[in-house]
């Protein structure tokens, strides 16, 4: 059975421009689905539709077998939502934030307290349990927001960039927890910029850019479909911008990482390794530049992401 079914979904905020344009995908029950895409791609907008916060402009969307435009309240009873937007009761303690949340979900007091103690010890919140939410750090607030959502059971969890601001230890324990929830049958819909996370967590991913979905597949298949492709990383000591220009001019197919900066290697995803090396060689000779770093490796999810996003960069 599918937990989420999206057909021809379109969303426009201003009635002119579609920020989500003709999306089609489904998420199976018990699956962890990763939604990847650059800033402004339409990830949060899609989550807002799926969580019934906004209505689709066009298309049909079913969540847990129910139409989002008709059964909003019923859907919201069964889902857990961690929005990208931080939220907390600023003048209540961490503990009271959790208790109130339990009450809002209509969980009996005894159970709320039990669950709270469990989560506080599991996610290491005991030091700040009596501190006002206004007085804890930003990462701690994010943790509170995540943990709070675990106070109630949900069949389907929406996580919009859940790990932003978390330290590596908190990140790992939360991601593992989500994984264990999925093992018990919870479906997880997850957005992130962190491709390692997606690789670790997700059964399948969708890559969205400018409101359009360009690839939906399992992480393995996506990597496999770029099997012939290699990722070349190169650093030169002079004028890397010029090299990027040259590569873009002369390369036949393939993608140059658009977010290149001076202290990071230029990243090229291509299936024409020798030809590309030739271009780099020419550049070094002509500009009397020298090579600081060169690496050719198998394509990872991150490279797939660059390729998909890069190919459609100018659309």
């Amino acid at each position: 059975m599918n937990s989420i079914e999206v057909r021809n979904l379109r969303v426009s905020y201003d009635g002119k421009k579609y920020v989500v344009d003709d999306l089609n995908f489904e998420v199976k029950e018990g699956e962890i689905f990763g939604f990847l895409g650059p800033n402004g791609a339409g990830k949060t907008t899609t989550i807002r539709v799926l969580t019934t916060l906004i209505r689709p402009t066009g298309g049909t969307v079913n969540v847990l077998g129910m139409d989002v435009t008709k059964y909003g309240l019923e859907i919201r009873k069964k889902i857990g939502v961690i929005l990208q937007q931080p939220s907390y009761e600023w003048n209540l303690t961490v503990e009271n934030n959790m208790l109130i949340y339990g009450t809002l979900w209509n969980i009996p007091r005894v159970e709320v307290k039990k669950k709270m103690e469990e989560l506080i010890s599991k996610f290491d919140l005991s030091e700040i349990r009596k501190t006002m939410a206004a007085d804890i750090s930003i990462g701690q607030r994010r943790r509170l927001q995540l943990v709070r959502e675990l106070m109630h059971d949900s069949k389907l969890l929406f996580l919009d960039e859940p790990t932003i601001g978390l330290d590596p230890i908190a990140r790992r324990s939360l991601l593992s927890y989500f994984k264990s929830l999925a093992k018990e049958g919870t479906t997880v819909f997850f957005t992130t910029h962190n491709l390692e996370e997606a690789d670790f967590l997700c059964d399948r991913v969708g890559i969205i850019n400018h409101g359009k979905l360009y690839a939906v597949d399992s992480v393995e298949n996506l990597k496999a479909s770029y099997e012939g492709e290699r990722t070349i990383e190169v650093m030169v000591d002079k004028d890397p911008i010029k090299l990027v220009e040259k590569l873009k001019q002369k390369m036949d197919g393939g993608v140059v990482d658009p977010s290149t900066s001076l202290d990071r290697p230029i990243k090229i995803v291509t299936n024409k390794v020798p030809e590309t090396m030739e271009i780099i060689n020419d550049y070094i000779r002509q500009e009397t530049s020298s090579l600081l770093w060169l690496n050719v490796k198998k394509t990872e999810l991150e490279d797939v992401f660059f390729k998909v996003v890069g190919e459609h960069h100018n659309e």
Binding site: L53, L73, K77, Q85
Partner: protein, 256 residues
């Protein structure tokens, strides 16, 4: 437990801290005692509707009625702050309807208004001659509810529309001042009242709340006061509708 009760409980717990409560109580108590007793020292008694009243007896019901502005502005403030702290969007993603949130906010503020009104009455009792009956208490209750629904909805509409803290505070303070001083809280509206002010008072829902509560306090309720209740039912219905409308248009993630 019912969703509206749960949401109301949350608002009371999260919005009412000790600073807010002190402000809610100290300002009107200040009005009552300072204005009432100081003005009382120059006015002594005056004729109101055929009876001689001390000034403090006159303004006590006014200050009680003024509590609806306190409750009302809190309603708007709660909405505004829930928008800012992200709680509004979170709550909208939970099994509550937007209308339930709106109702629970107004319900919470009705409780705030009652709490405040009760304190004002207790503070005022030693200084005034109160002739209220049991039926009078019921009327006070009705006027306070309708008044809070009216002004709470106005402030909710403001909280839903305005983005910046400053703008919200300025508008709500100006409104507080204008609404209080163009009503009959501090002076009776009579044939000698300047024309513009008399018209403003007639258009001001607070006037009807004040006059109704004052009649109840003095045990001089007439059919006119019942007519005021009808006017207030209409104003509260209209403004609740307007609040619902602005609500539907709230931009999500409108963080400042």
């Amino acid at each position: 437990m019912n969703s509206i009760i749960r949401l109301t409980y949350r608002i009371i717990r999260s919005a009412l801290d000790i600073n807010t409560i002190s402000f809610l109580i100290l300002l009107p108590v200040g009005y009552l005692l300072i204005m009432g007793l100081m003005m009382g020292s120059i006015i002594h008694t005056f004729n109101y509707g055929g009876t001689n009243l001390s000034y403090v007896t006159f303004i006590a019901p006014g200050v009680v009625a003024d509590q609806i502005l306190m409750g009302g502005s809190m309603a708007g403030w709660v909405l505004w702050s829930d928008k800012r702290t992200g709680m509004l969007e979170q709550i909208f993603s939970m099994p509550f309807s937007r209308f339930e949130y709106q109702l629970s906010n107004l319900l919470a503020m009705i409780l705030v208004t009652f709490g405040g009104a009760l304190i004002m009455i207790l503070v005022a009792i030693p200084f005034i001659s109160l002739k209220i009956t049991l039926f009078g208490f019921l009327l006070v209750f009705i006027f306070l509810v309708l008044g809070t629904l009216t002004f709470g909805s106005i402030m909710l509409a403001l909280g839903a529309t305005v983005r910046s803290n400053q703008v919200f505070n300025v508008i709500s303070n100006v409104m507080f001042f204008v609404v209080t001083f163009t009503s009959s809280v501090f002076y009776p509206i009579t044939s000698q009242t300047p024309g513009a002010l008399a018209t403003a008072a007639k258009l001001n829902p607070l006037t009807y709340v004040v006059d109704g509560i004052r009649s109840a306090f003095l045990n001089t309720t007439t059919a006119v006061d019942i007519y005021y209740i009808f006017i207030l039912i209409i104003t509260s219905a209209v403004f609740m509708e307007i609040a619902s409308y602005t609500y539907k248009r709230i931009k999500l993630s409108a963080t400042v």
